[in-house]
Subunit: 248 residues, 2 copies
DNA sequence: ATCATAATGTTATAATTCTCACAAAAGTTC
DNA sequence: GAACTTTTGTGAGAATTATAACATTATGAT
């Protein structure tokens, strides 16, 4: 499909260039621009869902939005997300105003940012780009970002300075995520550099809270970063009132 | 209009938070979310065109992309932005593939990110959140971010680690911006911490290029960070082919 | 309380977009 | 070049979205 120089491939390139600056073009404008029918534009988009997005009549560049969500969906459709949010609500109860907290990367803890009340002063440390974006607009939050080289897979930064910075911070609560968790084996994640950050943070923080939705329980990923016993609490969407304290 | 705590104002806040990371929500989803009719959502959007955008049935955060008024595509809207872009085009000629470059903060150099060809491998160092966001999606760019505390005024991070990191990097080209520039006095910016980063970068980089639109010339801001002579070139939107080399 | 005004909801109608099936054109293979 | 596959175009009906007018409900002031 779509060989390197084919008409279709050329259209895609042209179109991507046109949308590069984050402009949205109406499908009729695109059709005129590329001198093809609207139907063809529609098909092009359907066939390259990773490059282009389609939003109620308009062609939009991908990458401007989160790859999974948006576009054709109402948010009600996303059950998993709701679980994550409820887990975050529970996690937020471990945080007090004026404290310094760490927020891990991943799709779970992103939800937490919006749940932080606007009148709650906090210092928040993070190392994920999408988390930082959201935090940046919070009025009473002092945002501290760990720098380094960007890892697209998890939207995080990592480098030796990051580790050094963590050591120099006084973190009250660390809210950690995991791609897999098992009471016997512990918490695992997919990337080695993530694990390094997590371990370093957990070594400094006064309280370590693991925040996961229950779909993660029983799963195992490549890098183990903490045993179950090293968490002060494990919070899930089921932790409505009583939180599952560690059974030690 | 919409007093601080009014129902309308509250809706707007909630909605903006929901859209914060660049999600697009269908109008029906928004209506359910805010528990109002779709008509009200439509009116809310119409009344706050600077905060929210509306794109063929979907509510989108403004700033993510500028929807052109349906059907007609004139992009002749923003002249200043066009000037900045042309300056960036000129600046880009100082950059070669495989090099390590620094991109300063500000509205000018943001334009440069989109102008980087997708097939041009680069390592890019930055310290502005919005610059990082855009760079994150570039396929052949290795992104290095300087961490620290977030300064909303310029969307930048700053801290001692940032300065230390700069010193440890090998930067070929530094693309610098300024809020004010004058051949006699030099380049100035509005924030002290910005100036510190700029100075440190300029001390390390092999080539220092100042990228400004001509509206900045003759203006003066609070912090001087470099004399005119310390730049290897000053690039503006008028630098179409011949670049105004420093006149020393 | 009463009036005036702003905000919201509802409905009907107009306009637009979506989808599908099929036709036409272009490109491949033998 | 004939048969086949892929790509593109067209049009009609279904579905969705936009708009305006009017009804209803809140909100504020006197």
């Amino acid at each position: 499909m779509a060989k390197a120089g084919s008409a279709k491939a050329q259209r895609m390139e042209r179109l991507q260039a046109e949308l590069a600056q984050g402009r949205a073009l109406h499908i009729s404008a695109v059709a005129k621009l590329l001198d093809v029918s609207e139907m063809t534009v529609r098909r092009d988009i359907q066939q390259n869902p990773d490059k282009l997005g389609y939003l109620g009549g308009y062609v939009v560049p991908r990458g401007m939005f989160e790859p999974e969500n948006s576009y054709t969906l109402d948010m009600a459709a996303d059950q998993q997300r709701d679980a994550k949010r409820r887990a975050c609500e529970a996690a937020l109860r471990y945080v007090k105003a004026e404290e310094t907290i760490f927020i891990d990367c991943g799709t779970t803890l992103i939800e937490l940012v919006d749940l932080i009340p606007n009148d709650m002063p906090l210092t928040v440390v993070c190392y994920a780009l999408n988390v930082a974006e959201r935090l940046a607009h919070k009025p009473n939050v002092t945002l501290v970002m760990l720098g380094g080289v960007y890892y697209p897979a998890s939207a995080t930064f990592f480098g030796p300075e990051a580790l050094a910075t963590i050591a120099s911070l006084g973190i009250n609560v660390a809210l950690l995520s995991a791609a897999g968790f098992d009471w016997a084996r512990g918490a695992t994640c997919a990337h080695f550099h993530e694990a390094e950050i997590k371990r370093k943070v957990m070594a400094t923080a006064s309280r370590n809270i693991l925040v996961i939705d229950t779909s993660k329980v029983g799963r195992l990923r490549s890098v183990l970063f903490a045993e179950s016993s090293s968490f002060d609490a494990v919070v899930t969407e089921r932790s409505e009132d009583e939180t599952s304290q560690r059974s030690t």
